[in-house]
Amino acid sequence: MIKILYFGRLRENAGRREETLALPDGIVTISSLKQWLNTEHELDGALDDPSVKTMVNQMLIHDDIDLSGNEEIGFLPPVGGG
């Protein structure tokens, strides 16, 4: 199962802090998952905003990667500092 975490304003956009789901049919990469989530939660492209960073298993990723279906994925809007 994939665990997805939404932080900051994205939590409000997605209407949830986290969700756990099986990789949907045909979704094998992080970019296709983002597209799927954008549609599923009517995020209006919020996850594709260049300021939003993606972490897979708590590591920052910069390129598209394949998913096995057991990852923790975090979507991070710009951090606000302490």
Binding site: F7, G8, P78, V79, G80, G81, G82
Partner: protein, 147 residues
């Protein structure tokens, strides 16, 4: 020591404990950040972390500070959750043999915490609720250390 907590803490008691544990340090510098009321416009500040990632980032910044200056000990306490005006948000304490290292490391860590630390900040006040991002001055302050 790094502590991220959603429970309010007492900086005075923390400083006393730190000082007692670092009797050999010749210099101790501390910085306390607390919730401003912005002329009565702010009622609450809410901070969110990414458990694991936030602490790892702070630990990395502390390691960099220790590599850069000769430090005896470092303590970072950071709040998450909802905080009222006047409540402590962040407390950084650095101990060194001499004052310069303690001052500089404390300043360096605060610049990291204000711009790069993985926290999301939401302010609730008379103008509604908004997510806050670092000010341009914060980024400028943080760049001082890259030379």
């Amino acid at each position: 020591m790094i502590k991220i907590t959603d429970i309010s803490f007492n900086p005075t008691a923390e400083l006393e404990a730190f000082t007692n544990a670092n009797r050999d340090a010749g210099a101790i510098t501390s910085f306390l950040g607390q919730v401003r009321d912005e002329d009565g416009c702010v009622n609450e500040l809410y901070l969110e972390q990414y458990p694991g990632v936030t602490e790892a980032g702070i630990a990395d910044a502390v390691s960099k500070a220790k590599a850069r200056w000769s430090l005896t000990s470092v303590m970072v306490i950071h709040r998450t959750g909802a905080m009222g005006v006047g409540e402590a948000i962040v407390f950084v304490v650095t101990a060194a043999k001499h004052r310069r290292a303690a001052f500089l490391a404390c300043d360096y860590l605060m610049d990291y915490l204000k711009t790069e630390a993985v926290f999301w900040k939401r302010q609730k006040g008379t103008n509604g609720t908004e997510w806050i991002e670092p000010r341009s001055e914060d980024y400028k302050d943080n760049k001082r250390w890259s030379t």
